[in-house]
């Protein structure tokens, strides 16, 4: 009889559930603290997940492999880097939501280095800039954002060189 293998994501969820059960047994207060944090995060993340899936839907609807290859593919040139930087700043979201989207774009011909650029610019988000400026000052926020963009290009170049 052939035994069905449990998928890795289910194994992961079972391990996390076991950790939570152990925490509940050791400290009920900590369990509820973590659960409260989980619900708060979920509330924040759900609209972003919805937005990203909405974007993914339109990407699949309007962007065909030829368009991706032209703007973010092997022949996209220096403009591809600019599109990747702008895209990564414009599309904000947690990595576990962005990664399937980037994986999808790569399947359509996106360059490896531009995928790395996408994930390295997560801190540069105009929506969050006022919060950063509030705590650290506007000069700091602009300077950090500028350096992140520069280093994301460097990061993308190295990743592309060794992963292509």
């Amino acid at each position: 009889m052939k035994v069905k293998k449990i998928p890795n994501q289910w194994k992961f969820l079972i391990v996390v559930a076991a950790i939570y059960l152990t925490a509940f047994w050791l400290s009920e207060d900590f369990f509820w603290l973590a659960m409260g944090d989980f619900w708060k995060t979920l509330e924040k993340v759900l609209p972003i997940i919805g937005l990203v899936f909405f974007i993914m839907f339109f990407l699949n609807l309007f962007l065909n492999p030829e368009i991706i290859k032209k703007h973010l593919g092997k022949d996209s040139g220096w403009k591809g880097w600019i599109y990747a930087v702008i895209g990564s700043i414009a599309i904000s979201g947690p990595p576990y939501v962005l990664m399937p989207m980037i994986s999808d774009l790569r399947k359509h011909g996106m360059k490896t280095e531009l995928a790395a650029v996408f994930l390295s610019n997560r801190s540069v988000q105009p929506v969050f800039l006022p919060v950063m400026a509030h705590y650290f000052g506007l000069t700091y926020a602009i300077l950090v954002s500028f350096l992140i963009i520069i280093f994301s290009v460097w990061n993308g170049w190295v990743v592309g060189k060794y992963c292509e």
């Binding site: 979920l42 919060v131 705590y135 700091y140």
Partner: protein, 118 residues
């Protein structure tokens, strides 16, 4: 998978947040490294790191450490590594995270130096 990752982050964050003020002592050599390490473990929405970093800064933690912390928080993720490997490949995930870890430290040092001149 998303639910599992969120549960893990919610579990790890309260544990590590308790130790942040003890970890950062103001040392110019170790602070950015420790900041990047702490940020790599605590992974989440960037705005949360700004608030946590801002609070740490107000408590006297150096800007070096806080900058490395908030940058690593958003761009390096130990908890996210399995999902990144799954979607983008092992070599890509390890190299990208490793480089972003180093970048967090370098940017933190550069920002502090430049701000001192401004």
């Amino acid at each position: 998978m998303i639910a599992g990752i969120l549960l893990l982050i919610s579990f790890l964050n309260p544990i590590f947040q308790r130790y942040y003020p003890k970890i950062f002592t103001g040392n110019y050599f170790w602070d950015p490294i420790l900041g990047a390490l702490a940020g790599s473990v605590a992974f989440g929405i960037p705005v949360t790191s700004y608030i946590a970093g801002g609070e740490l800064l107000q408590k006297g933690v150096s800007l070096l450490a806080v900058t490395a912390f908030i940058l690593a928080w958003a761009t390096v993720g130990l908890a996210m590594l399995p999902i990144e490997i799954k979607f983008l490949g092992r070599r890509f995930a390890i190299l990208r995270n490793g480089l972003n870890f180093i970048n967090s430290i370098v940017i933190a040092i550069l920002v502090t130096i430049i701000l001192n001149f401004l």
